[in-house]
Structures are given as structure tokens and as C-alpha cells.
């Protein structure tokens, strides 16, 4: 069902946890299945210095959360905003069709976290 890459991220998820005093936090629920994800980021000079996630969700949700944090860590927030759920799925070698919706969770939570950061910066 899942690619090896998915299983590898699921078994050893990167960047699990919560950043205390984060620059921004995003929490979203998945409209299709009710699963939930929370991402917290620490931003310095427009760069995502640190990022952590917590996910209540299926294997695909956890793997996409993990790979998503890896993909944007060290990137600028503008680059991070360009991350699509397709890109997340591609980074994992693809997802089963019934699981594509799961990849929305990570991308959306990240976007929310960035929006939260911007709001806090009064930049929005």
C-alpha cells in the first residue's frame, strides 16, 4: 500500500514535538477524515530555523508531516509557502489515491503556521 519512503518516515518521523515559544503555530483538521495536525515553527531572518509537528492521523498523515518538516527546514518562508501537497506526496514516492487527501494536512498546517507567524509580526 505505502511506499518504503512513507514507511520509513512513519517509523522514524523527523521533527516530532512542539517548539516552546514558537514564532508561529498552525493546527488544522482534515475535512475528509477528521484527523488533526499541529506544526510549530521558529523563524529567524525569514528563515525557518526550526520546525516541529504533532499529528493525530493515519500513516500517510504522519509520514507527510515528517517529510514536510524536512523539506522546509532551513528554507525561507516564501519558499515554504510554495510547498504543495503534491510536492509532499512526490517526496515520499507517491501516495495511494485514497490517501492523497492526507497530504493536505501537512501543507495546510504549515501555511497556517506561517500565517500565524506573519500575523504575530503584524505583517499581514
Amino acid at each position: 500500500m505505502y511506499t518504503e519512503k512513507v514507511m520509513e518516515h512513519f517509523a522514524n518521523p523527523r521533527n516530532v514535538g512542539e517548539i516552546e515559544e514558537a514564532s508561529g503555530v498552525g493546527e488544522v483538521g482534515n475535512a475528509s477524515c477528521g484527523d488533526i495536525m499541529r506544526i510549530s515553527i521558529q523563524v529567524e531572518d525569514n528563515i525557518i530555523k526550526d520546525i516541529k509537528f504533532k499529528t493525530f492521523g493515519c500513516g500517510a498523515a504522519i509520514a507527510t508531516s515528517s517529510v514536510c518538516t524536512e523539506l522546509v527546514k532551513g528554507k525561507s518562508i516564501d519558499e515554504a509557502l510554495e510547498l504543495t501537497n503534491q510536492a509532499v506526496a512526490d517526496a515520499l514516492g507517491g501516495l495511494p489515491p485514497a490517501k492523497m487527501h492526507c497530504s493536505n494536512l501537512a501543507a495546510e498546517a504549515l501555511h497556517e503556521a506561517i500565517a500565524d507567524y506573519k500575523a504575530k509580526q503584524g505583517k499581514e
Binding site: 516530532v16 477528521g34 488533526i36 499529528t55
Partner: protein, 387 residues
């Protein structure tokens, strides 16, 4: 690491004796039971014998057993057949079922709504039990069919079929029970239960996949689901799945011999698993504590999603299932757990362990040792858990 299969509610390994009987049938008795010649007569003999074995395990007579391609077909044949048949006779068009039925029953009833039937879905209590009073309230003069399962596939709760059937039949309705999960595991006697129709499936009792049967009490008329040859007294046409049916017969014989001892052994394991895992914090037992199948353990681990739990268990060699989203292409949490009053999130984190012949005391130990660390890991990942 030897894998631990604890998903016998989904399907069972085929018993070696069953495989042997099927191979012998394929190698030596491949004839078509409808054929006049020796090959056909030999096949017919095996068909009759298997029918007698399956009938015997439910206290029926052989001619009351119609073989089908599985539990789903038996359920559909019973429900469509009885409902359409009763309506043709002008008896009405109201059907009663319960909220915790298998989709083969629920979705057949829903499809009948499109044919103009009215369907009442009985609620269950927090243990998943249907109350006789609820049926009493729901029965009407135009109720033609009541279909309530014997034992639930997700939580193992056993329904008071005897009382429900008596009540329904007193009001002139046909009574069907889906006994796919109970048949061969606990005593199932069509006369004691007093049912008109009863579905069973071979692959839940160490028989082959793709075979099941419907018990049809004398005098009960069903509109057939499909048409063709004169097999199964025209109620279910098509060349009989002889090796499968022989395998079902063999599985029934073995179950009959071993049922009681096996039920006692697995009840012990079940109770060890329930008691052991309930010691973890934030765990809820789903289904009735005692009035449940010996094979069934169903627990909700709060703050955890079921598929992740299954995948983690799988990585440890444990095969289990979940009433969660994702398990079978559906994203909705278990309709059974929701009907029992669980919240969406808690229903999502349920784990079903279903015991069977291959399981040992060591398997129980292994699971009791393995689950706590997995639950801890997943809770550490969960935004809902403030450990």
C-alpha cells in the same frame, strides 16, 4: 520474529485438513454435480455430504441450506429475497434492522429504500446491544422483515436473538440473523434461536474464502437474487463451488468437534488481553464485557488514530484491525462505535484483536508487552495528548 495473527474476525487461515479435502476434491472429484455420469455423481455425493455437515452445525436439515459465495451474498439473498417476496404477497414494505449491522445488511436495506421500502434502524446501548423493547416499539403491521445480527463483527457483542425473533415472528415478520461471526464459534442452533433465515461464511471458521450459506426455514419464500441453472433448488443458480463447499463442510465438522474447548481457551486469552490492556491510562473497552464472542477484544486508546496503531503493530509483526478510518477505503470512523455513543476521535483510535486457533499464551504475552510502548510512542506524536 514469528508474526502474531490476531485478525481472525477479518479472515482465518485455512485449516490444513480443509486444504487437504479441497485438494482431494479438485484432484479426484472435479465433476459437475449436475452431470449424469460417474464424475458428476461423485461430485453430487460430496456436495450432499458437505451440506449435511454444515446443516448439522446449526441444527438444520440439509435441504434447508443453500450454498452461496459468502456471507455478503447470503445476507443480500435473505434481505432482498424476503423483502421483495413479502411485498409481492402484499404483506407490506417495512423493514427493521439495527445500527450495528455489517454493511452487507445495512447497505442492502438502504438499497431497498430506493425500491420504496421503509427502514427502521434500531439503536443500541453503550455495549452495542439491541433492546427487545426497541424492537417492540418499532414493529408495525406492515413490517415484513427484521434483520439483526447474532454477534457483532467489530465489538463481539451478542444479541438476544431468541427474544427478538420470537417477537418479530409473532407479528408476522420474517426474521433474519447474520451469524457470520458467531457460527462455528459459539453454539448456533436455528431452532433454538427460532430464526427464519441465517447467514454464515466459511472463511471465518478456517474454511475457504468465497463460500457461505443461507439457512432457509421450511415455508419461507424468497425472490432469488439471480437466475440460471437449477442448482441449489433454483434459489442460487451457477455451477457449485464444489471444492469450496467441501472445504466449508470440513471446517464445520472441525468446528463442531473443537468449539467448546476452543471457546474456553480463547475466552481466557481474551480476558487476559482486556484486563492487561485496560491497565494503561485512557483506554476504553468497546462492547459488552462478558456477553461477547470469546474471540473478540476491542479497545479504544484515546488520542491515537487507528491506522497508525495498526501500522506500528504490523512493524512488530502483529496483525490486527481497527474500526478506524482508512482500514477499508472508507474514511468514516466505525458506524458501530459511533452507534454505541463514542465520539469521532475515540472511535478513530479503536483496536480490534480477534483470537483464533493459531494463537498461544505467548502471543498474548507478546501483545501485552508490545502495545504499551506503541501507545506511548503514538501519544507522544499526538497533538491531542497532553501527557
Amino acid at each position: 520474529m514469528q508474526p502474531v495473527y490476531m485478525d481472525h474476525g477479518a479472515t482465518t487461515p485455512v485449516h490444513p485438513e480443509v486444504v487437504k479435502a479441497m485438494v482431494e476434491t479438485m484432484e479426484k472429484s472435479f465433476g459437475n454435480p449436475s452431470s449424469v455420469h460417474a464424475f458428476g455423481r461423485e461430485a453430487r455425493k460430496l456436495l450432499d455430504e458437505a451440506r449435511a455437515s454444515v446443516a448439522s452445525l446449526m441444527g438444520a436439515s440439509p435441504e434447508q441450506i443453500i450454498f452461496t459465495s459468502g456471507g455478503t451474498e447470503a445476507d443480500n439473498m435473505a434481505i432482498f429475497g424476503a423483502a421483495r417476496g413479502m411485498r409481492l404477497k402484499g404483506k407490506g414494505n417495512h423493514i427493521i434492522t439495527s445500527a450495528v449491522e455489517h454493511h452487507a445488511v445495512l447497505d442492502a436495506c438502504k438499497a431497498l429504500e430506493k425500491e420504496g421500502f421503509e427502514v427502521t434502524i434500531l439503536p443500541v446501548d453503550e455495549d452495542g446491544q439491541v433492546h427487545v423493547e426497541e424492537l417492540e416499539k418499532a414493529l408495525r403491521d406492515d413490517t415484513v422483515l427484521v434483520t439483526i445480527m447474532h454477534a457483532n463483527n467489530e465489538v463481539g457483542t451478542i444479541q438476544p436473538i431468541q427474544e427478538l425473533a420470537r417477537l418479530a415472528k409473532a407479528r408476522g415478520a420474517v426474521f433474519h440473523t447474520d451469524a457470520v461471526q458467531s457460527f462455528g464459534k459459539i453454539p448456533v442452533d436455528v431452532n433454538e434461536l427460532g430464526v427464519d433465515l441465517l447467514s454464515a461464511s466459511a472463511h471465518k471458521i478456517y474454511g475457504p474464502k468465497g463460500v457461505g450459506c443461507l439457512y432457509i426455514a421450511k415455508g419461507v419464500k424468497l425472490t432469488p437474487l439471480s437466475y440460471g441453472g437449477s442448482q441449489e433448488r433454483r434459489r442460487r443458480p451457477g455451477t457449485e463451488n464444489l471444492p469450496g463447499i467441501v472445504g466449508f463442510g470440513k471446517a464445520a465438522l472441525i468446528s463442531q468437534a473443537e468449539m467448546q474447548a476452543e471457546a474456553e481457551r480463547l475466552t481466557r486469552y481474551r480476558d487476559r488481553l482486556i484486563d492487561g490492556l485496560m491497565e494503561l491510562p485512557h483506554v476504553k473497552l468497546n462492547g459488552h464485557r462478558t456477553n461477547r464472542l470469546p474471540q473478540n477484544v476491542n479497545l479504544s486508546f484515546h488520542f491515537i488514530e487507528g491506522e497508525s496503531l495498526l501500522l506500528m503493530l504490523d512493524m512488530k509483526g502483529i496483525a490486527a484491525s481497527s474500526g478506524s478510518a482508512c482500514t477499508s477505503g472508507s474514511l468514516d470512523p466505525s458506524h458501530v462505535l459511533l452507534a454505541m455513543g463514542l465520539s469521532h476521535e475515540i472511535a478513530h483510535g479503536s483496536l480490534r484483536l480477534t483470537l483464533g486457533r493459531g494463537n498461544s499464551e505467548e502471543d498474548v504475552d507478546y501483545i501485552l508487552n508490545t502495545i504499551p510502548e506503541i501507545v506511548e510512542r503514538l501519544r507522544a506524536l499526538s497533538p491531542l495528548y497532553e501527557g
